[in-house]
Amino acid sequence: MSSDHAHHADHMHHAETAASVEWPVFEWLVVVVLVLAAAGYGWLLWSGRHRTGPGPWRPVSFYVGLLCVGAGLMGPLAHAGHTSFTAHMVGHLLVGMLGPLLLVLGSPVRVALRGLSTAGARRVTRVLRFPVIRWVTHPVVAAVLNAGGLWLLYTTALFHWMHASAWGHALVHTHIFLAGYVFTAAIAGPDPDPHRSSFRARAVVLVLFIAAHSVLAKWLYAHPPAGVAPHDAHVGAQVMYYGGDVVDVLLIVLLFLGHHRATRPRPATDRMSPTLTQIGEPPVSRHHREPLS
């Protein structure tokens, strides 16, 4: 036990000296990016204020999401995450799951399309149609990038590399955030998605993702990364499991909510062609049927 502690302390000391110079640079970068995102969203919201707009809770969701990501990447929680696996896992939930979910609910693409000029909005949609974007936002690819990244992080030496260098930390957390955002948006995001997969495909991918996430949590409970004390690993694994559950249940609700709205019974006139109402109705988010609320 004591040798384990000594190794642990030595490792952490080494990590802190290596990261002492780069760490503040990373934190400043995070501040700049978050402030830019907040200002950009606010500006787009303001410049599109004359058109039908999002309900007031979408901006609230977006800004709380930015706060979640910020809290997970810098400040006391992120610092504690260097020595405590549990704190690391709380930060991970904020950066990779809860933050992305709240940001996605803020519907930034729609806010951008509404706030930009026609030419600007056209440019945004052109970017969104890039083959790379289309490929990455496929639910299967997004889920593999998300869950696969986590498995790599916690079952290989990547975990130690991440703690040893601030840039490793930055790279890993950027991946965790982007993968979390893209996955959430691909499964149940309110933003327009010209190539959205079928409800059934998204449902299957979501169930498999939740299974992979909870299996990894239990795996970590039994096989913590080297240098993590058993008790710390046990608490951290349960944070991952139950915290992940809360966000996953919200995701399932969002997925079904989109389907529920898209399949609502039509007025009598629409029932003339049953194939249209039963099969052909695309998900509501594709056609902006619901006002942004």
């Binding site: 169930v207 299974a211 239990k218 046990h234 249940v249 079904f256 019974p265 009598a268 619901e290 006002p291």
Partner: protein
Amino acid sequence: MAHTASTPDSTSSEGPGSAGGPAPDPRRTRKRAALSGFLFGCGIAASMIDLFIFHLGLQWHHFYDLSTHEVALVTDGFFHAFGWFITIWGLFLLADVRRRGGVHWPHWIGAVILGVGIFQLFDGIVDHKLLGIHQIRYGVDILPYDLVWNGTAVILMLIGFLVLRRGARAYRAR
């Protein structure tokens, strides 16, 4: 974005859709309601009853007993994910049945009890015995616990089936 302003019917169609449209097929509604209750029952038995009563309440078993085979661990993860999924699926089906023509609560509750019973029996036989994911309680003679577990499961299934059958009459009487 131009579509947003041109769909004022999105909220007002709820009314005529459920009240003024052609009468929904009662048999289909009944089946949907039964499926909804069944899924919800299985789901809460899988994801909530075990968590809140046996794990957090009685503390008879722990998060993970560390003795599980890897195949069982993966299966457990899949059941876990599917449990939450069907819980919410059941509730959205219920909302769908309600907006299409109404729910007979005794019928739905019967389906829930049947679902809980079936899942509990499945859990007692497949999870506890065949896969050995976890036991009901540790450090005691497990046989009486297994008998009570599987016995209540069968009783719940019977009660659920009878309540469901009684409730189904309400659909035929309409």
